[in-house]
């Protein structure tokens, strides 16, 4: 099985053979080539080579569809889309694979391809590539010209950084090269040129990087880049190797092989705008403004446009109720109703989907309620968490408990890594009887946020272990927070502070022991503060009267 498949969509391509020859001559890894001849047999003879597969269609299916078909044919770990008019450097595949990571979309440095000269058959006058000459400027010949193939990368320009403007229209991002993050062999790039890019085949299908609803082709580099970045991946330019692309922009018989009307171009752009600028892509875990800020200032974008796009909420179009962030809420339904209702009212102001798992039916709270017919206990609680996680349709999950007041800023957080548990530590404990309040930094399950798959993995294992060996306090309640031998898995944790704090209400029946002084801790905290006023929420004495 090959490690890398190079996918080449080809329609009316004069230079397919030259492209294939260049690749075959420079391969150094376990690489194959899959060509889709889209509506036409290759114009020139293609070499017979065990690394080469050609799939032919009598009628054109479109460039995106052709790439998708080639990707389906591939069984390699990595796929690389390449235009049928490119040259590559020696060992380009090996060099790229050496630096490849599963969450990368990688592009080599791009050169302009010096494809051919026109030669006048009568006088030998040479002319740089372009449409078929009308006449020879030297001898006046109007009929006899031939292409002399050169097929090499030009020394300059060397393109490594790209972006798109607010249209969105492709732009070179030369300014980025001068920045610190533009230095080095591997650098991030906001967008792609589109003629050559590489990612894992799994990612190709997971992200659906060639969405045929955008049209046959157009805006493809932007689509691939946005789907990579906004799903949590990175687009990387590898400057250790290069490819060269033949730019055919002079019209006539030296232009794009795929027919593309202005209407189609605008359709593709509108599709990109609607989907990504409105944060509506279903795999999107990062908002559009995040990408702009990462590369800010970005040519073709104004501060006003950035501010406007910051106000767009992150949500999916697949299902209006399905956001990429959601809440799981679990309760034993034994809490004082006054506190319970207060917490539920507050959660309803967050406008995120809520999946609740309760020991009594709660049909009026949340978007989905799972009634768990089990007796109150630790194992039941873990089971409630797991069923709520499995019923949630979002990538990012916030745990919410029945006795915590969550500030909306808590839900602004985006976990950076998919294999780390994150805890908000901006939490005050509030005694609901006397208004006493304390603050200390700690990891609490009620403040947990992580990716759904990680959480499902953890709680599935946790339940299996408890069912087999019984519950032990030494396994802890908070995922990823300790390294004792009883730990559930090897995942780690990190923490964040939301802009405004949450309030953990202590009501005498909490799962964990309340700590009102430093002496209540077995391991003394470095920082402990008693207070009678909580930022945003106000004086605690008034707070318990108003809320509780």
């Amino acid at each position: 099985m090959f490690k890398l498949s190079i996918l080449i969509p080809s329609r009316n391509e004069l230079f397919l053979k030259n492209t294939i020859d260049s690749i075959l001559n420079n391969i150094e890894a376990d690489t194959e080539i899959i060509v889709i001849c889209d509506g036409q047999w290759p114009i020139e003879g293609i070499p017979d080579n065990p690394r080469l597969t050609i799939i032919h269609h009598n009628e054109s299916i479109g460039q995106r569809a052709a790439i998708n078909e080639a990707a389906r044919y591939s069984q390699a770990k990595y796929v690389m889309k390449m235009d049928a008019h490119c040259a590559v450097s020696k060992g380009f595949d090996r060099i790229l694979l050496e630096d490849m990571q599963d969450d990368y979309t990688m592009v080599p440095l791009m050169k302009n391809l010096y494809g051919f000269d026109w030669v006048c058959k009568q006088c030998g006058n040479r002319r740089y590539q372009g449409p078929t000459p009308i006449s020879c400027p030297n001898c006046g010949n109007t009929k006899e010209f031939e292409r002399d193939i050169i097929w090499k990368g030009k020394n300059s320009p060397n393109s490594t950084s790209y972006c798109f403007d607010s249209d969105p229209h492709f732009q070179y991002f030369g300014e980025f090269k001068k920045r610190k993050e533009g230095q080095g062999d591997l650098t991030e790039t906001m967008s792609l040129q589109g003629s050559c890019w590489m990612l894992t085949r799994d990612k190709y299908f997971e992200l659906g990087v060639c969405d045929e609803s955008f049209g046959s082709w157009g805006s493809q580099g932007i689509e691939v880049a946005l789907k990579t970045w906004l799903s949590g991946g990175r687009v990387i330019c590898n400057k250790k190797t290069w490819y060269a692309h033949l730019f055919r922009t002079q019209g006539g018989d030296f232009s794009f092989p795929y027919p593309l009307s202005n209407k189609q171009v605008q359709k593709a752009k509108k599709g990109i705008r609607d989907l990504f600028f409105n944060n509506r892509w279903d795999r999107q875990i990062l908002p559009m403004f995040w990408l702009l800020e990462r590369f800010w200032p970005v040519p073709g974008w104004t501060e006003e446009e950035l501010e406007k796009i910051k106000k767009v909420p992150l949500r999916s179009t697949i299902n209006n109720n399905s956001l990429n962030k959601s809440i799981i809420f679990y309760t034993d339904n034994k809490l004082k109703l006054k506190i319970a209702h207060c917490v539920q009212r507050q959660l309803n102001t967050i406008h995120l989907p809520i999946v609740s798992a309760s020991l009594k039916p709660m049909p009026h709270f949340g978007d989905k309620n799972i009634y768990v017919k089990k007796k109150h206990g630790y194992l039941t609680m873990f089971y409630q968490i797991l069923v709520a996680l499995e019923a949630s349709e979002s990538d990012i999950i916030f745990f919410c408990e029945h006795d915590v007041l969550y500030h909306p800023s808590h839900f602004d957080f985006i976990p950076e890594k998919k294999n780390v548990f994150y805890y908000n530590q901006n939490v005050y404990h509030l005694n609901s009887d006397n208004g006493k309040s304390v603050f200390y930094y700690a990891n609490r399950t009620s403040q947990l946020c992580a990716y759904k798959n990680l959480l499902i993995d953890h709680y599935t294992n946790r339940i299996k272990i408890i069912e087999k060996n019984g519950f032990s306090y030494r396994m802890g309640f908070e995922p990823g927070t300790h390294n004792r031998k009883e730990k559930i898995d090897n995942y780690t944790c990190s923490s964040w502070l939301s802009e405004f704090p949450n309030i953990d209400i202590r009501h005498g029946n909490n799962l964990t022991k309340s700590k009102w002084s430093v002496n209540d801790f077995r391991n003394k905290p470095r920082f402990f503060k008693q207070c009678d006023c909580i930022p945003y929420w106000g004086e605690t004495a008034k707070l318990i009267k108003t809320f509780l």
Binding site: K180, E181, T187, Y441, N443, S494, W496, F500, R526, K529
Partner: protein
């Protein structure tokens, strides 16, 4: 604010507290980074701000800064602020 890169040293950080803190007797910043907690001593600067110079090398990731103040008979934590340290490629 300009982008800050991993490896930066001697970073001057000024937090505007938006009120007069010149009488503060405790003026420090608790820093959370990758789940670890540390305390940076800060000085009162131009009556409304906390200022400190971070001399060690900054590492990639998000720094959460939580100002802790005691002013007259009030003591408490202000709202946290964050800054991001970007990776240095190459």
């Amino acid at each position: 604010m300009e982008k800050i890169y991993a490896g930066t040293t001697n970073l001057e950080i000024i937090i505007d507290m938006q009120q007069d803190i010149s009488n503060a007797t405790v003026h420090e910043v608790i820093v959370l980074k990758d789940g670890e907690e540390s305390v940076w001593d800060a000085e009162v600067y131009e009556s409304n701000c906390l200022r400190f110079l971070y001399t060690s090398e900054l590492v990639e990731g998000t720094y959460y800064l939580h100002p802790n103040l005691t002013i007259n008979d009030w003591s408490g934590l202000a709202n946290p602020v964050t800054f991001r340290v970007y990776p240095k490629w190459g």
